[in-house]
Amino acid sequence: MEKHSKAYFNNLAHQLRFDLTDKEAQDIVDEFSILIDQMNLLNTIDTTGVEPMVYPFEEATSFMREDIVDHVLSAQEALKNAPSSKNGFFITKKVVL
């Protein structure tokens, strides 16, 4: 599959569990060139020896939660938003293994 083609992005979307319309896929293909241009701005920057920054503040912390049960929902509350439930379980159409 050609990289950055409509089929490529359709497949990528499918992995993310949604579909793209034909127009959307085409839009992404088109906008990807702008994105690539913007990425090129990134690539003009020399990051030799620079570590990725994952958190705004990187000082290590030491806090960990004590092992205490302090919050549990009732089954009714847990299932309240469920589109489908039965006998206390969330129900979905069969999961293909």
Binding site: Q15, L35, L42, E51, Y55, V95
Partner: protein, 473 residues
């Protein structure tokens, strides 16, 4: 509308007035997504201390904030029917401080946008010119404060989502230091960039609000242990000897002469008050790389953050022949085209084969940007620049040049505060025609007290506090 003016009314009256007004302006501004019946909160208030900072003050939440037994849609379609089973930490704090929450304000879906045009309930209108946008993503919250519905509204800020709409709507918008206010219970956009903050109509009210909302929360491991200062009682507005650094990259990129002139006037006034105003130039290449850096990091984190929206435990579910089909149908219908595009791009950046070149590259550039900002702030107390080159754009805006420096730098530089986690806020400093203009301040980490004090000094100079733009049906 200030806290003080609100307090002139008896509690019940002011809350009901706020709700009435919210309903009244809704057809015009479209700022609200859902309303909350305040009766039980008013009942709870009766046993509370009348001296509480938010005693009986009506507030609005951005539609990303969970409050038990209320609808929280994230201004999305997929969570259209979602009833929160729990309170966000800030909701608990607001209630403890006596606030009465009257509803959820519109935003770009999951905070992912800067226009508020992507909200499932449609665009939010700027009260100063209804054909113009509120800005986003916290557009509804900004407009509710600007139009005098509530004196305070909660927002979130991942790139500039509080500070930009605050500028467009002529009010104060505060994004404190990362970790200052707990994120627990707020629907995320990008966890390492997301900040919780708020809108008020003046700096003193902002100081009171921060005092209530800030503080350590064990439910948010990134929340800070640093003690919360008495921001409100420490507010003096003394500018003497305070060092401001103008970000020249931003001022140079601004094309609108009116903005430039008014900003220069402000700087002269600061000097007249004894402030030391200098020019600071950040690395231009880094400034231009900021938007793509932001785009990569934010969308990569967002695609993972929203993987929980599979319609199995909550959310709007569509039909399908098996579980996977159900998930695909629900997510396709539940996310708008813009979100789907962003998720695709975010996911692309995360592929193992692309991570070094894109995602980790962006994280490295982020570090360089932050180091540059840190260096700049080592010489001054505060970085200052107009929050935007212009007043609020038209809702039906034409295509902009996404590679121009005006766009890349002047319209997106405030993400500096998100990359670094440094405290940053905007407040009004003038008008371009009828449209308010905002000025942005960014300070060193956890120097909110200083930042609010500087803002107070500016507010005293401009006298642009408590601006209300009444809209009449």
């Amino acid at each position: 509308m200030s806290f003080t003016s609100v307090k002139n009314n008896p509690v019940e009256k002011r809350v009901l007035e706020a709700l009435d007004k919210a309903h009244l302006v809704q057809p015009i501004l479209n700022a609200m997504v859902s309303f909350i019946d305040p009766l039980s909160q008013l009942e709870d208030l009766k046993s509370k201390d009348k001296n509480l900072p938010f005693y009986g003050i009506p507030v609005a939440l951005k539609d990303l904030v969970n409050m038990k037994d209320t609808i929280t849609t994230g201004s999305s379609k997929i969570l259209d029917n979602y009833v929160s089973p729990y309170d966000a930490t800030i909701v608990r704090k607001l209630k403890e401080a006596g606030a009465i929450i009257i509803g959820k304000a519109s935003c770009d879906t999951f905070g992912m946008g800067g226009t508020n045009k992507t909200a499932a309930t449609g665009p939010v209108h700027n009260p100063y010119d209804l054909s113009r946008m509120s800005g986003g993503s916290s557009g509804g919250s900004a407009v509710l404060v600007a139009s005098g519905v509530v004196p305070m509204a909660i927002g979130t800020d991942t790139g500039d989502s509080i500070r930009k709409p605050a500028a467009f709507c002529g009010i104060v918008g505060v994004k404190p230091t990362y970790g200052r206010i707990s994120r627990y219970g707020i629907i995320p956009y990008a966890s390492s960039l997301d900040h919780v903050g708020f809108f008020t109509s003046n700096v003193s009210d902002a100081a009171v609000s921060l005092e209530v909302l800030a503080g350590r929360d064990d439910l948010d491991m990134t929340s800070s242990f640093k003690p919360v200062e008495k921001y409100s009682s420490l507010l003096k507005g003394d500018l003497k000897g305070k060092r401001f650094g103008i970000i020249t990259n931003v001022t140079n990129a601004i094309q609108n002469k009116n903005t430039t002139t008014q900003f220069n006037n402000l700087c002269e006034k600061l000097k007249a008050q004894g402030a030391i105003v200098s020019e600071i130039t950040l690395n231009e290449d880094l400034m231009k790389a900021m938007l793509p850096t932001y785009y990569v990091i934010a969308n990569a984190e967002a695609t993972a953050n929203h993987s929980n929206l599979d319609s199995l435990r909550f959310g709007v579910q569509l039909e399908g022949k098996d579980n996977e089909e159900v998930m695909i149908a629900s997510r396709t219908a539940g996310f708008g085209p813009l979100l789907r595009k962003r998720f695709v791009i975010g996911s692309y950046a995360l592929f193992t084969e692309n991570q070094d070149l894109i995602f980790r590259k962006a994280q490295k550039v982020r570090r360089l940007i932050v180091e540059d900002v840190k260096k700049a702030l080592s010489e001054v107390d505060c970085l200052i620049a107009p929050a935007s080159g212009n007043g609020a754009p038209l809702i039906e805006d034409t295509q902009i040049d996404q590679l121009s420096s005006e766009y890349l730098v002047a319209e997106n530089f405030m993400a500096l505060g998100n990359f670094s986690g440094y405290p940053s806020m905007t407040l009004p400093f003038g008008f371009d025609g009828v449209l308010p203009l905002g000025v942005n301040l960014t300070c060193k980490p956890f120097e909110e007290r200083l930042m609010l004090d500087l803002a107070k000094g500016i507010e005293d100079l401009t006298q642009l506090n408590d601006l209300i733009c009444e809209v009449k049906p």
